[in-house]
């Protein structure tokens, strides 16, 4: 990133002020300020309107956070299965995507030859732009039947599998596990696009210095590249996590949309965002405010993740600037 140095900005703005001294600021400045104020207003309304419409539901905060089961249209509305479903699916997806994605980024930077590397990087960024509904469609119409036919019978033969996946003989196409798989495929391009950039941004001279000391390629990666890129990689992880927890329609298609979850991976379940999308069409009165309250929960989760990831990424930028 090429940033103009702060001193120069100050100088040019001082010049600007001298220049427009007569008419103090000018219409253009006020246009920019008022448009930006409008943007701020929209953002405040964004948070405010969802919170205000959710207010009636917070009189049953206990049920909303820990109750299992969603009795529309009159309640009680329990959010436990959505909360647990969100955590289960996005954590599995994140672990898979982070491990496989980190390996892939390292392979792209250190194994793939130059010209091919650019092609793969562009392709990965294009994949990250594919609408999530397409990943959901693929999971629903291709992966779900495949899992029903091949994967589930295989898993059910394994000993102790029932403890994690559900009792033997329980066979569903859509399930929390399928949602986790689709999510991990979906966030892989996002994770790789960022982590590849972070890894490629590690200064070449310290890499070459380590090679010249006799380090093997893995030692360079392990002891030089990964520590230098560490914070940025955490940032990529939180960004992917934010995307996974907020994903709506893909999960709504493949998780099975069941609010009375058993929490086993092969049973159908749902997530916060997916449940809002599933139920909203027929919701009335109290149910709408309960769904809005789920939206507030999702907002809290997402905003905290993006705060963490942003501070990590900017710390990485500063650390790299010092090297």
């Amino acid at each position: 990133m090429t940033m103009s140095s702060p001193d120069l900005i100050i100088q040019s703005e001082e010049l600007a002020e001298v220049n427009s001294a007569s008419s103090s600021r000018g219409w253009y400045h006020w246009l920019l300020v008022s448009v930006s104020a409008l943007f701020a207003l929209v953002s405040i309304a964004f948070v405010g309107s969802i919170v205000i419409y959710s207010l009636p539901a917070w009189s049953h905060t206990g049920t909303l956070l820990t109750g299992n089961g969603w009795q529309s249209p009159s309640g009680p509305f329990g959010g436990l299965s959505m909360i647990v479903g969100t955590i289960e699916t996005s954590l599995i997806a994140l672990v898979v995507a982070a491990v496989v994605g980190l390996g892939t980024s390292l392979a792209i930077v250190f194994l793939v030859p130059g010209r091919l590397r650019n092609i793969i990087s562009t392709f990965v960024e294009l994949l990250a732009a594919i609408p999530s509904i397409v990943y959901g469609l693929w999971g629903f119409l291709v992966l779900a039947p495949w899992m029903l036919k091949s994967f589930d019978p295989f898993v059910n033969k394994l000993p102790f599998a029932s403890a994690i996946f559900g009792s033997p003989g329980q066979q569903f196409g859509p399930s929390l596990l399928l949602a986790a798989i689709v999510l991990s495929v979906m966030i892989l391009p996002t994770f790789i696009a960022i982590s590849r950039e972070v890894i490629a941004g590690v200064p070449n001279d310290i890499i070459e210095a380590s090679y010249s000391l006799g380090c093997t390629r893995w030692q360079v990666i392990r002891q030089v590249v990964l520590p230098t890129a560490k914070i940025g990689l955490f940032g990529a992880t939180f960004l992917s996590l934010a995307r996974a927890t907020g994903e709506t329609v893909a999960v709504a298609l493949v998780a099975g949309s069941v609010a009375n979850a058993q929490f086993h991976l092969l049973y159908p379940g749902t997530s916060i965002a997916a449940w809002i999308a599933t139920e909203f069409g027929e919701a009335q009165g109290n149910e709408i405010s309960a769904l809005m309250a789920l939206g507030v929960l999702l907002m809290l989760i997402n905003f905290s993740f993006s705060l963490i990831s942003r501070s990590l990424v900017s710390r990485q930028r500063k650390a790299l600037a010092r090297v």
């Binding site: 010049l15 491990v99 792209i108 194994l111 994949l127 397409v134 291709v142 893995w218």
Partner: protein, 309 residues
């Protein structure tokens, strides 16, 4: 190797020396072996990533391409009946709806987003830095929340009802921070010498901004706008809660409209096989559109950059 050999203190007895050298060399062999194994694992990860994503693209193209004919683009959807289970019609209403939604959302989001971005880049005020944090947070917010916002504000509070304008408002809120942040980045990369030259010639600050800074940053600004449009076109969750759907060609702001991602969402769950096949065609159209948009944005930006340097 020689460095390591030199670093080892040289004992008198040759047998000890050989023993140490053997140890060092076997250690090196182990390091090389570990490195090989780990790099192979990285390669395996690359293949593991490629398999589902390449499969997805192949299946998308092979199942979707056969659906794209004149009927698909120009006819209205039909509900299949038992006697004619394959008569599903086309998706012209969703195409028109998506175009209308995207145009309205762009009209709302692009001017606002670009001006906000210019402000973020040129101002050093406390308000600007707060606004930047807000924009970054909004840019990462789940799209379903934009849907809830469009529903509460436009559908309920302003009592407009389910309509194209509610959906495009939700999409515009989604596009705004993306456009603002990419505009800010583009404007910041304009060298200050250009600004100073303009001011030194006696131009008013707004002239410098409008005639010098924004034209030199235009490729970055347009790229950001195109990427935001590409994202808005494919979003399902915001329109799901706001546009209302429908089976006729409608495009006016207050009409309830349909949209391509919405038709995928409902068609995938249909019990008619012909409808479940048709959605692959819609998905292919969406993905092709997104790819063309982001590739052309990329190529254009690269060409512009080459010309500038």
């Amino acid at each position: 190797m020689t460095i390591i050999d030199d670093l080892i203190p040289q004992p008198e007895s040759t047998s000890t020396r050989q023993a140490i050298q053997r140890a060092v060399h076997s250690h090196r062999a182990r390091r090389v072996a570990i490195s090989r194994v780990m790099m192979v694992l990285c390669g395996v990860a690359l293949v593991l990533t490629a398999i589902p994503l390449v499969l997805l693209i192949i299946q998308l193209v092979s199942r979707g391409a056969s659906q794209l004919d004149a009927t698909f683009f120009t006819k209205l959807p039909q509900s299949p009946t038992l006697s004619s289970p394959n008569d599903v019609g086309g998706v012209s209403n969703s195409i028109i709806g998506t175009i209308a939604l995207t145009v309205y959302a762009s009209i709302m989001a692009i001017p606002l987003g670009v001006l906000t971005g210019v402000y973020l880049a040129e101002s050093r005020s406390k308000f600007a830095s707060t606004l930047r944090v807000i924009a970054q947070t909004m840019a990462g917010a789940p799209s379903i929340l934009m849907g809830l916002f469009g529903f509460t504000l436009i559908v309920k509070y302003f009592q407009v009802g389910f309509s194209a304008i509610a959906g495009s408002f939700a999409l515009a809120v989604l596009m705004l921070p993306v456009i603002a942040l990419s505009t800010e980045l583009a404007v910041r990369t304009v060298p200050d010498t250009l600004r100073e030259a303009g001011l030194a010639l006696g131009a008013k600050p707004h002239k410098v901004s409008l005639k010098v800074v924004i034209p030199s940053a235009i490729s970055g600004i347009v790229t950001g706008c195109l990427l935001a449009v590409a994202r808005a076109v494919g979003e399902t969750a915001p329109v799901l809660l706001t546009v209302g759907g429908g089976y006729i060609n409608q495009w006016r702001p207050l009409d309830p409209v349909s949209a391509l991602p919405l038709t995928i969402y409902s068609g995938a769950k249909s019990e008619w096989p012909a409808q479940r096949v048709q959605v692959w065609g819609i998905a292919l159209v969406l993905v092709a559109f997104v790819f063309v948009l982001s590739l052309s944005a990329r190529i254009w930006a690269a060409r512009k950059q080459k010309r500038n340097s």
